[in-house]
C-alpha cells in the first residue's frame, strides 16, 4: 500500500542553524505517527515542509504519491494542517471561518454545511460556534481550529502540538478526535512532547533531536532497542540526556 505521506531526506537551514537534517518519514492510511522532540528540535520546521508552506533546501515530500513541490495545490487538498501558528480570524465567528476554509478547499456547499454541523456536534462547539473567534477561550479556539483542519476530510492530518497549553478536558477532546480520524482511516502525523499522549495515540513514534531523527518505530520497538521501561527514558536515552538532566 502506498504511504499517504512519504518524506525523503528533508533538510532545511536558517542561516547557520540546521533546523532539519536528512529527515525521512512515512505515514500510512489509518496510522498515527508521533514526532517527539524537545523544544527547538525542528518539529515545526519539518511539519511545515511536509505541509507545503516551507520549501526544503533538499529532499522531497509526496502526499499520496503527489510531489508537493510540483503540484502544491493538489497535494495541499489532501492535507489538514494545524499548529499553534494557524489561528482563525478574530472578526469571523467559528462557523464563518469554517465555511471560508471549506470553500477554499473546494468542499461543495451542501456537503460543507453538513460537515460543519457534524464537526460542531463532535467537538461540542454548539455554545460558541456563532461567536467571533477573537472572543473564544484557548480551548474553544483550539477546537475550532482542529475542526478547520478536519473539515475537508483530508487523507493526511498534520497536527503540531495540538494539545499544547490546553487543560485536561480540552486536551482530551482533541485526543479523542484524533482517534476518531484514525478509525476512519486517515493518516495522522502529530508532534508532541507529552509522552503519555504519544504512548496512547501513536502506532509509531519518531524521536527528533537537533533536526535529526535519532530513532523511530513502534513503542515496543523503541523500548526494546533502548532497553528502557518507558518512553520518557527511551527518549532521553536516544537524545543523550540522563534522568537528572545531565548529558549521557
Amino acid at each position: 500500500m502506498t504511504p499517504i505521506l512519504q518524506a525523503e531526506g528533508l533538510s532545511r537551514h536558517f542561516g547557520a542553524v540546521r533546523a532539519a537534517e536528512e529527515v525521512s518519514l512515512t505515514v500510512r492510511a489509518g496510522e498515527v505517527v508521533g514526532l517527539l522532540g524537545p523544544n527547538g528540535a525542528g518539529k515545526t520546521t519539518i511539519l511545515r515542509m511536509i505541509a507545503g508552506i516551507l520549501a526544503p533546501d533538499a529532499g522531497r515530500v509526496l502526499i499520496d504519491g503527489i510531489d508537493i513541490a510540483a503540484e502544491p495545490l493538489a497535494a495541499k487538498e489532501k492535507i489538514g494542517f494545524h499548529s499553534g501558528d494557524t489561528q482563525l480570524y478574530q472578526r469571523l465567528n467559528a462557523r464563518e471561518a469554517l465555511e471560508y476554509f471549506g470553500r477554499l478547499y473546494g468542499v461543495e456547499e451542501r456537503r460543507l454545511k453538513r460537515r460543519i454541523d457534524e464537526l460542531i456536534a463532535q467537538l461540542e462547539m454548539e455554545s460558541f460556534a456563532g461567536r467571533p473567534c477573537g472572543t473564544l477561550s484557548s480551548g474553544q479556539k483550539q477546537r475550532a481550529n482542529i475542526a478547520r483542519a478536519f473539515l475537508h476530510e483530508p487523507d493526511l492530518l498534520i497536527l503540531d502540538e495540538p494539545t499544547n497549553a490546553l487543560d485536561v478536558v480540552s486536551g482530551q477532546f482533541i485526543v479523542e478526535a484524533i482517534r476518531r480520524e484514525k478509525a476512519e482511516g486517515r493518516a495522522v502525523l502529530f508532534s508532541t512532547h507529552i509522552m503519555g499522549e504519544a504512548e496512547y495515540l501513536c502506532d509509531r513514534i519518531a524521536l527528533l533531536h537537533e533536526g535529526k531523527l535519532v530513532d523511530q518505530g513502534t513503542l515496543a520497538e523503541l523500548l526494546e532497542r533502548s532497553g528502557c521501561a518507558n518512553l520518557t527514558d527511551a527518549f532521553l536515552k536516544a537524545i543523550g540526556v540522563r534522568r537528572n538532566g545531565e548529558s549521557a
Binding site: I53, K76, S83, T86, R91, L92, Y100
Partner: protein, 706 residues
C-alpha cells in the same frame, strides 16, 4: 489563478474589514464628519474673525502734525481711534516737530499689476523705524502713521507730502489698521489731485495721466474651481490612501500578528490568488472611501461659501472624472501598501513601514497649490502629480480627452508595476511567514534558464518600456523625427526585450516565436498586411474621429518631418523598423507572457497593450484591432515573421499613400474625411481571405503552463 478562489478570499477579507471599526471610521466616518466640520469650522472662524476685525476700531498712533481735514477723514467712518504721539520717543517727536528728520527716499518703482509693491520694502535702518516697530510689536498701537515734516504745508503748496504707515503684517488687526489708514489717505490724495487740477484749470485726470482698468474674466465657477482644484486632489488622494492604509496593514502584518497567515498558506490556494483577493478587498475599501470622500466634499463645497460671495458650483461630470482618475492611483498606492505591508511582522511594524509611503504622497500633491504648474506632456507621466494636476484641470474646465487618456495610461503603467511587485512579494512564502531571508529573496531576479515569461513579466515590461519610450522620445525630439524614431524603436523597444530575455534566461526562439513561415502563412500575412488598415482605420475611426491636430501629427510622422523624406527612408523607419521592434516586444515577449492564459485572452491582452502604447484615445480602437489581428496571425503561424510582414505592409502602405497624390486620387480617397465604404468592403474581403488562409494553417499553439 482561479477567479472563484480570488472571489472567496475577497469576500472574506471585505467582510472582516467591514467588521473593523477602524476601517469603517476611516472609510466612511471620517470623510462624512471631517469635511463639513473642517469647512464649516474654518468658514465660521473666518467669518467670525472678519466680523470681529470689522467691528473693532483700529488703534492708530499718528506721529507728526495731523492736518484737521485729514483727521476728520480718518475719524469719519468711526472705525479708528487716533492715539496721537503714543509710543514715540522724545527724540523722534522733537525731530519731527523741528523738521530735523527727513522722509525716507521714495522706493524704486516696482509694483505688481494690482498696484501693490512687488517686493515689500525693507524697514529703514533708522531710529524712527525702530521706535515705530517697537510700538506696533508691543501692541501700543495697531499701526503707526508718520507724517513727515511740513506735511500740510507741502500739500497746500502743491508739493509732495509724505506719510509712512508702519504695521505688522502677521497681526490681522494691524493689517486692518493699515488698510483703513491707506484707504483714507488714497481718497484724500484723489480729492487733492482733483482740487489741484481745478485750481490750475487743468482737465480732469491730468495728474493721473493714464487710468488702468483691469478686469478679471474668470467666472465665479472658474475662480471657485481654482480653489476646489487646489484642495480637492490633495484631500481626495490622501484620504482615499489612508483608508487603504489601515486595511492593507490589517490584511498583511495584522494577519501575521494574529497567526492567520499560515492558516491561509496551508490551504490549497496560490499566492497570486491570496494577493488577488486581498488586493481587491483593500482596493474596494479605498474606492468606497473615495466615493464617500468625493460625495462628502461635493456636498460640503456646494453648501458652503468658501470665500465671501464665492459659491462652488462644479458640474457633476467634474466629480465623475475626478473619480475616474482616482482609480489608477488607488490601484498603485494600495498595491504598494500590500507589498510593503507583507514585510512587516506586526501592525505596529506595518504602520512604521507604510507611513513614509503615505507621507511621500504629500510632497507631489502640493503641485496643485503651486501657481504656474500645469499638466503637460512631461508631467503626464509623473505619478501622483499627473492625477493631481488633471483633477485640478477638470475643476477649472481645462482638460482634453487625449491628456486624460495619457494620464490614465501612465498611471495604469505604474499601477501595473506596483501590482506585479506585490504579487512577486506574495509568491515568496518566507516573506509571509516572517522569515529572516525575506527581503533578499524578493529581490532575487537571478537568471533561470529554461523558464518562460509570465503575465506579470509582460505587464512589467510593457509599463517600464512605455515610460522609458515616452520620456526618451520627448528628450530626443530636438534631434528630428528620424533619429527619434530609430532610437525609440531600437533603443527603447527592442533592446529591453533582448535584455529581459537574456537576463531572465528565457529561450529566444520560443519567447519571440523565431520560426520560419509556411507559404500559406506568408500569403495570409501579406493579405492581412495590405487590408487590415481599411477595416481598422476606415471603420473604427468613424466611431471616434481624431481631431485635426492628430491627423496633422500622423501625416508628419508618415512624411518623417515637415518635408517629405524619400520613400525608402519612410519604409525603413516607419514600416520595417516598427515591424521588427514593436512585433518583438508585443507579439514576441509580451504575448509569450500571456500565453498561459489561453489563446484569446493572450491575443486580446496583447492587442490592448499594443493599442494603449499608441498613447492616444483616438488611435486606441484602430491600433487595438490591428494588434488583435497581428496577434492572431502570429499565434496561428507560430512565427513572429508573420506579424512583422503584416505590420510592415500596414505601415508602409500608409507612408506610401501619404506621399502619393495620384494613388490617393486613384483610390478615391482625395478630399475624403473617411475611407469610402467601397474600399472598406474590398479590404474586408481581402482580410477575410487572409484570415481564412490562417484558419487552415495547422493546429493552434498549445498554451504553455510552465
Amino acid at each position: 489563478m482561479r477567479p472563484a478562489t480570488v472571489w472567496i478570499i475577497f469576500r472574506k477579507e471585505l467582510l472582516e474589514a467591514l467588521r473593523d471599526r477602524r476601517t469603517i471610521f476611516m472609510m466612511i466616518g471620517l470623510p462624512i464628519l471631517l469635511y463639513p466640520l473642517l469647512m464649516i469650522g474654518m468658514s465660521r472662524l473666518q467669518e467670525g474673525q472678519e466680523a470681529a476685525q470689522t467691528a473693532r476700531a483700529s488703534r492708530v498712533a499718528v506721529w507728526g502734525e495731523l492736518p484737521a481735514e485729514l483727521e476728520a477723514r480718518l475719524l469719519k467712518p468711526g472705525k479708528m481711534e487716533l492715539l496721537g504721539w503714543k509710543g514715540a520717543p522724545q527724540g523722534i517727536r522733537d525731530g519731527l516737530k523741528a523738521s530735523r528728520l527727513d522722509a525716507p527716499p521714495t522706493p524704486p518703482f516696482d509694483y505688481d499689476a494690482d498696484d501693490r509693491p512687488a517686493k515689500p520694502p525693507k524697514l529703514p535702518d533708522a531710529d524712527w523705524a525702530r521706535a515705530a516697530q517697537k510700538a506696533v510689536l508691543e501692541r501700543e498701537a495697531d499701526a503707526v502713521v508718520i507724517l513727515w515734516p511740513r506735511f500740510e504745508e507741502r500739500m497746500k503748496g502743491g508739493d509732495k507730502a509724505v506719510a509712512s504707515i508702519l504695521y505688522d503684517s502677521v497681526r490681522a488687526e494691524s493689517r486692518k489698521a493699515r488698510d483703513r489708514v491707506s484707504d483714507q489717505l488714497r481718497l484724500y490724495r484723489m480729492d487733492l489731485q482733483r482740487e489741484r487740477e481745478r485750481q490750475r484749470g487743468l482737465p480732469a485726470g491730468f495728474a493721473l495721466g493714464v487710468e488702468i482698468q483691469s478686469n478679471n474674466v474668470a467666472s465665479e465657477q472658474r475662480k471657485s474651481g481654482l480653489l476646489v482644484g487646489m484642495l480637492l486632489p490633495y484631500m481626495l488622494i490622501l484620504f482615499s490612501a489612508m483608508s487603504g492604509f489601515y486595511a492593507a496593514i490589517d490584511m498583511t502584518a495584522g494577519e501575521k500578528e494574529r497567526g492567520t497567515m499560515q492558516t491561509l498558506l496551508c490551504a490549497p490556494v496560490e499566492a497570486l490568488e491570496i494577493i488577488g483577493g486581498k488586493f481587491l478587498a483593500v482596493w474596494s475599501i479605498a474606492m468606497i472611501a473615495t466615493v464617500v470622500n468625493l460625495l462628502s466634499l461635493a456636498m460640503t463645497f456646494t453648501r458652503l461659501k468658501l470665500l465671501p460671495g464665492m459659491e462652488v458650483s462644479a458640474p457633476p461630470s467634474s466629480y465623475l472624472v475626478a473619480f475616474l482618475m482616482l482609480i489608477p492611483i488607488s490601484l498603485m498606492v494600495n498595491a504598494v501598501f500590500l507589498a510593503v505591508g507583507a514585510f512587516a511582522k506586526d501592525f505596529k511594524d506595518g504602520q512604521n513601514f507604510l507611513t513614509p509611503i503615505l507621507m511621500s504622497l504629500l510632497a507631489p500633491l502640493t503641485v496643485t497649490m503651486t501657481p504656474g504648474i500645469e499638466l503637460n506632456g512631461y508631467l503626464a507621466f509623473v505619478p501622483v502629480v499627473n492625477i493631481a494636476l488633471l483633477i485640478k484641470g477638470v475643476f477649472l474646465g481645462e482638460w482634453a480627452a487625449d491628456m486624460l487618456f495619457l494620464v490614465l495610461l501612465s498611471s495604469l503603467c505604474y499601477a501595473s508595476i506596483a501590482l506585479v511587485f506585490a504579487a512577486h512579494v506574495f509568491e515568496r512564502n518566507p516573506v509571509l511567514l516572517g522569515g529572516k531571508e525575506a527581503l533578499s529573496s524578493v529581490f532575487d531576479f537571478s537568471r533561470r534558464p529554461g523558464s518562460r515569461p509570465t503575465p506579470g513579466v509582460s505587464l512589467l515590461v510593457f509599463a517600464a518600456v512605455l515610460v522609458l519610450a515616452f520620456y526618451g522620445s520627448l528628450s530626443l525630439a530636438r534631434f528630428g523625427l528620424p533619429v527619434m524614431l530609430a532610437v525609440t524603436q531600437y533603443g527603447f523597444f527592442l533592446a529591453p526585450v533582448v535584455l529581459v530575455i537574456y537576463l531572465k534566461g528565457y529561450d529566444f526562439t520560443d519567447t519571440l516565436n523565431l520560426r520560419g513561415l509556411s507559404w500559406r502563412g506568408a500569403a495570409a500575412s501579406v493579405l492581412i498586411g495590405v487590408s487590415a488598415w481599411t477595416v481598422a482605420g476606415g471603420l473604427l475611426v468613424r466611431l471616434l474621429p481624431p481631431p485635426e491636430s492628430l491627423q496633422k501629427a500622423m501625416e508628419r510622422l508618415l512624411m518623417l518631418d515637415d518635408k517629405p523624406a524619400p520613400l525608402w527612408e519612410a519604409w525603413l523607419l516607419v514600416a520595417i523598423t516598427p515591424a521588427l521592434c514593436e512585433e518583438s516586444l508585443f507579439r514576441g515577449l509580451i504575448m509569450s507572457g500571456f500565453r498561459r492564459l489561453g489563446k484569446w485572452p493572450a491575443i486580446l491582452a496583447t492587442g490592448l497593450l499594443f493599442g494603449l502604447a499608441h498613447a492616444s484615445i483616438y488611435r486606441l480602437l484602430p491600433t487595438l484591432a490591428l494588434g488583435v489581428v497581428f496577434g492572431y496571425t502570429v499565434w496561428k503561424t507560430r512565427s513572429i515573421v508573420a506579424g512583422m510582414i503584416c505590420h510592415a505592409l500596414n505601415n508602409g502602405l500608409m507612408a506610401t499613400l501619404a506621399r502619393s497624390k495620384d494613388l490617393i486620387e486613384q483610390m478615391g480617397l482625395s478630399g475624403q474625411k473617411y475611407v469610402p465604404w467601397a474600399i472598406i468592403a474590398g479590404g474586408a474581403v481581402v482580410l477575410a481571405a487572409g484570415l481564412w488562409l490562417l484558419k487552415r494553417e495547422g493546429e493552434d499553439q498549445a498554451p504553455t503552463t510552465a
